[in-house]
């Protein structure tokens, strides 16, 4: 059976290899490290081998086919799920190439490669990612075309493949808009169980040796009105009450507290947040949110929790008070939680707090000032690469290393406050963000994740205190990246680069809002505007069928159109000249030959123009009829230029 199908040509195999390489590259970011480099090597060796006409040793292939699932199971514990599935698919795809010896194999491999490429979209649907997946389909299609016996040269194949991809766009667009989207997916993409930088529901400052600056967008905020100043842009996401000496967590006891009331709210800001997919339920909100949007609820501390993890981006609109009084009266349970400290840890810190307590008594603002002054004056520095901390983490940080980032300062500050008898808690979220100058919105990156403190003061409720600002005020005024990098990255702030980044981010935002964020709700909104009811399948089927019929009819009309012989440059140049002459009343008769025509027109023109036209005619005849060799492009371009310059 296989012997009947002839061996595919090298060009087709090379294009297929290119597709597989692209699929491998797109998946490489989340494949296990032991898998991607050997697969890349195997692909390269196989490609070279095929070019030399060698077959891949069958025994080795069988061994690899056996080893792959074993390796995947060893890594993930299962073959099912998004990550193991992707690893298995990419691995099998490369192995498929080792047995690709016939045209039929190429067909199968291309289909498989297309599936693997599509599965890369499960890991990211950003604009560049999607474009890369589409671009990788190009060599895949070209590989199929190269199998045809009538395939032309590679340029022609690539051109045809690009045209076919472009022709598929309208159909893809119709399917995108009209195929009904489900409010709850029929089968959910399994969530990523992967640690991400940014915020999480716990915080262990000492455990982090180096904070990687994650430049990916976290969310974007469009304000109804001007963007508030940077110092007011604190987005709370999670409140951490409980400290066990190493890790801050929300604490189980805090789950059942009543919602903290907001009193005396100042003027409210209305804004809309577009979240990136976080696969978490935490939703950031500007201090201090007044109500929860649909699909989310408040925790007691007025942070927002979505009803389900944000897997594909989310948009919500909020109102926040810029001045407020949060929980003016502190209950006993809350007070106990806000004073909790791990037993017997960090004696030096406790002693320091006790000294302040002895000096300032109940004057909480004085104690806070003393703590902030200590951070500012006593040689503390801000760094994303803090030295390691020992067992007594807060002591080590406060008295020895004196270097860290926001989590260290927030953690130490809250510890100090609690030890001094002031109710305090850690708030994690985002701070600052970047105001896009091209479009009026705020871009908040994962790198803008921040931790600060809230202390409860009698009569004022929970008051935000940011100890990091005492160490490095520019962390608040410039952002984490600038604070960490200092002046070394001045090129990064070059005006043109900033403008370019702004524009790219506007594109990304547009993509997220129109494509990734096109969910069931927005589809319904769009379709009802055109009289299509997405709830009734007849209506959708009619619209889908109608739209596809229109596209097919247009395509058919294009295909059946009188085949126009491709015009070369010289022909187009002459057509242009002819149109220009016709506009001046010099029309060519249907049966009139070009040279004849130009000669006739020259007879009616003043001498200077006539001789130019005759020269053009002579040269045209030479290029068009006399040349036995392919005419030189230079001469043709020269002629078209002269024809363009000719003004009768």
């Amino acid at each position: 059976m296989k012997a009947a199908s002839p061996r595919p040509d090298t060009r087709s195999f090379s294009l297929l290899s290119l597709t597989v390489a692209a699929a491998l590259a797109l998946h490489a970011t989340h494949l296990p490290l032991w898998l991607s480099p050997p697969l890349a090597l195997l692909l390269a060796l196989r490609w070279l081998g095929f070019r030399r006409g060698r077959r891949f040793p069958a025994l080795l292939r069988y061994a690899l086919v056996l080893a792959l699932p074993l390796g995947v199971i060893a890594t993930y514990g299962t073959l099912f799920g998004r990550l193991p599935g992707a690893a298995l698919a990419v691995g099998l795809l490369v192995l498929k190439l080792t047995e690709t010896e016939t045209r039929r194999d190429v067909h199968i491999a291309v289909a498989f490669a297309a599936f693997t490429l599509m599965s890369a979209l499960l890991f990211g649907q950003s604009l560049p990612h999607t474009l890369l997946v589409c671009a990788a389909l190009w060599p895949a299609l070209a590989a199929l075309l190269a199998l045809q016996p009538s395939a032309g040269d590679t340029r022609a194949i690539l051109k045809t493949a690009a045209l076919r991809l472009a022709a598929a766009l309208p159909v893809a667009l119709i399917a995108f808009v009209l195929i009904p989207r489900l409010a709850t997916p029929l089968w959910g993409a399994p969530s990523l169980q992967q640690a991400r930088t940014g915020i999480s529901a716990s915080m262990s400052p000492g455990a982090i040796g180096q904070l990687l600056v994650d430049d990916n967008p976290a969310f974007r905020v469009g304000f109804d009105g001007p963007i508030p100043p940077r110092s007011a842009r604190y987005f709370r996401a999670v409140v951490l009450w409980h400290f066990d000496g190493r890790t801050w967590t929300p604490g189980r006891a805090a789950q059942h507290l009543p919602l903290e009331p907001v009193q005396a709210p100042g003027p409210a800001l209305r804004y809309t947040i577009s979240m990136e997919a976080t696969r978490q339920t935490l939703l950031p909100a500007l201090d201090m949110p007044l109500q929860a949007p649909t699909g989310a609820r408040f925790t007691a501390e007025r942070t927002l929790l979505a009803d389900k993890p944000v897997d594909h981006g989310l948009r919500y609109t909020l109102d926040s008070a810029t001045t407020y009084r949060l929980q003016a009266r502190l209950g006993a349970r809350e007070r106990a939680l806000a004073l909790q400290l791990p037993a017997n840890d960090d004696p030096r810190t406790r002693a320091l707090a006790a000294r302040w307590r002895a000096r300032y008594g109940d004057n909480a603002p004085a104690i806070i000032t003393a703590a902030l002054r200590r951070f500012h004056d006593d040689g503390y520095r801000y760094t994303l690469m803090p030295p390691p901390l020992g067992r007594q983490q807060v002591d080590d940080f406060l008295f020895d290393t004196r270097a860290g980032f926001c989590e260290h300062y927030a953690s130490a500050f809250v510890f100090l406050m609690r030890a001094a008898g002031i109710p305090a808690r850690v708030v994690a979220g985002y701070q600052g963000g970047y105001a896009n100058r091209v479009a009026d919105y705020l871009l908040v990156r994962q790198a803008d994740a921040h931790a600060w403190a809230e202390v409860w003061l009698r009569g004022r409720g929970w008051v935000r205190v940011d100890p990091t600002a005492a160490v490095r005020p520019d962390r608040i005024s410039l952002g984490a990246i600038a604070a960490a990098q200092g002046a070394g990255a001045r090129w990064y702030q070059a005006a043109w680069l900033v403008g370019l980044r702004d524009r790219i981010d506007v594109l990304n935002r547009l993509w997220d809002q129109t494509v990734v964020g096109f969910n069931a709700l927005r589809q319904r909104g769009l379709l009802t505007r055109f009289g299509v009811d997405p709830q009734r399948w007849q209506s959708v089927a009619l619209a889908l069928g109608g739209a596809l019929a229109v596209v097919l009819a247009l395509g058919l009309a294009l295909a059946l159109r009188e085949p126009v012989a491709a015009r070369d440059t010289l022909g187009r140049g002459f057509d242009r000249l002819e149109r220009r002459l016709a506009r001046r009343g010099h029309r060519r008769q249907p049966g009139e030959a070009p040279a004849q025509f130009m000669e006739r027109i020259a007879g009616n023109l003043p001498a200077a123009h006539a001789s130019t036209l005759r020269e053009l005619s002579t040269e045209f005849v030479r290029l068009r009829y006399a040349c036995t060799q392919p005419v030189s492009r230079l001469a043709v371009r020269d002629w078209t230029r002269r024809a363009r310059e000719f003004e009768p």
Binding site: G571, F574, P590, G591, A593, R624, A626, T628
Partner: protein
């Protein structure tokens, strides 16, 4: 001038203008038709002259033959002419005790078949077969005709009593069909006051000879045709095939004929490449007699319509 001596130029191409001028001096006021006739000879095709008697058909044939230095035979077709009359016959020779072939007038370089439509279909087809094959089979033996063998046939389109009109399939064998028509006033005056044509023909000296003609035919075949010209030529063929007034369009053989004639015309214009103008110049002469009109339309008029309707894509 590098060479002003009267000695004929070695290059036959250079002697063509002289040859044209000489024929034009004999057939007055018909330079375009004469040029077409030359093109037909250069393209290696046979020529059909269709006109009323007395306008110079025979003179043109004679002039062409004399100027090109070709052996010339004339056959007057009548209804009692038999194939052997033109092909020749084997006669038994007593001394040698065998049949000896006595070649007929066909074995010449230029044959003038006068009033070809007066001959019977039998003799017509014998001639046309010789024209197509360049050889004849007599009594089981194939005899080659001279390599430049060319037929110039004449017929009178008006006096049709007792004639056998050539069927379309045989008209196709002629590369061109030409009509001379009446001369204009000046030419007619020159004809009336000048010497007798027959005497002039006798004084005519050959400018070319048969090898020259063969060499020129080789040159014609070397004339280049660009894709643009072939596009135009094919557009003409295609238009003839689906024109409403045409029952049968131009055959592929007609296309080849058109190309050969256009090449010859280009060579006569001193070029080594074909232009659309060349195709147009020969189109009516080559195509008109091959078109079968659906209604009672003049064939030449149909060809002109095609020329006017088919646009020349640059």
């Amino acid at each position: 001038m590098p060479d002003s001596s009267p000695r004929p130029h070695r290059e036959p191409l250079a002697r063509l203008p002289q040859a044209l001028a000489q024929v034009n001096a004999l057939v007055l006021g018909k330079s375009h038709t004469v040029r077409l006739g030359f093109a037909c000879l250069l393209a290696g095709g046979h020529l059909l002259l269709e006109d009323i008697p007395g306008v110079g058909k025979t003179t043109l044939a004679h002039a062409l033959a004399a100027t090109c230095g070709l052996g010339f035979q004339r056959v007057q077709f009548t209804s009692d002419l038999t194939p052997t009359d033109i092909i020749g016959v084997g006669i038994y020779e007593h001394e040698q005790r065998q049949f000896k072939f006595h070649p007929g007038p066909l074995f010449t370089e230029l044959l003038l078949a006068d009033e070809i439509n007066r001959g019977t279909p039998k003799v017509q087809s014998a001639l046309l077969e010789a024209m197509a094959e360049g050889q004849v089979s007599v009594e089981g033996e194939t005899r080659a005709l001279p390599s430049v063998f060319t037929v110039i046939a004449t017929q009178n389109p008006l006096d049709l009593a007792g004639t056998f009109p050539l069927p379309d399939s045989q008209l196709d064998r002629f590369l061109m069909r030409l009509s001379l028509g009446y001369p204009d006033a000046a030419a007619e005056r020159a004809l009336l006051t000048g010497s007798e044509r027959r005497a002039l023909l006798r004084e005519t000296t050959a400018v070319l000879d048969a090898p020259d003609l063969l060499a020129l035919r080789e040159r014609v075949r070397a004339v280049s045709t660009s894709p643009a010209v072939l596009d135009y030529l094919q557009a003409l063929l295609a238009a003839s095939r689906d024109h409403a007034d045409i029952r049968a369009g131009l055959s592929p053989r007609a296309g080849l004929a058109l190309l050969a004639a256009a090449r010859a015309w280009a060579l006569l214009g001193g070029r080594t490449y074909v232009m659309p103008e060349d195709v147009q110049a020969v189109f009516i002469a080559v195509a008109a007699h091959r078109l079968q009109p659906r209604r009672n339309t003049e064939r030449a008029a149909l060809a002109s319509v095609l020329l006017a309707e088919v646009s020349v894509r640059a």
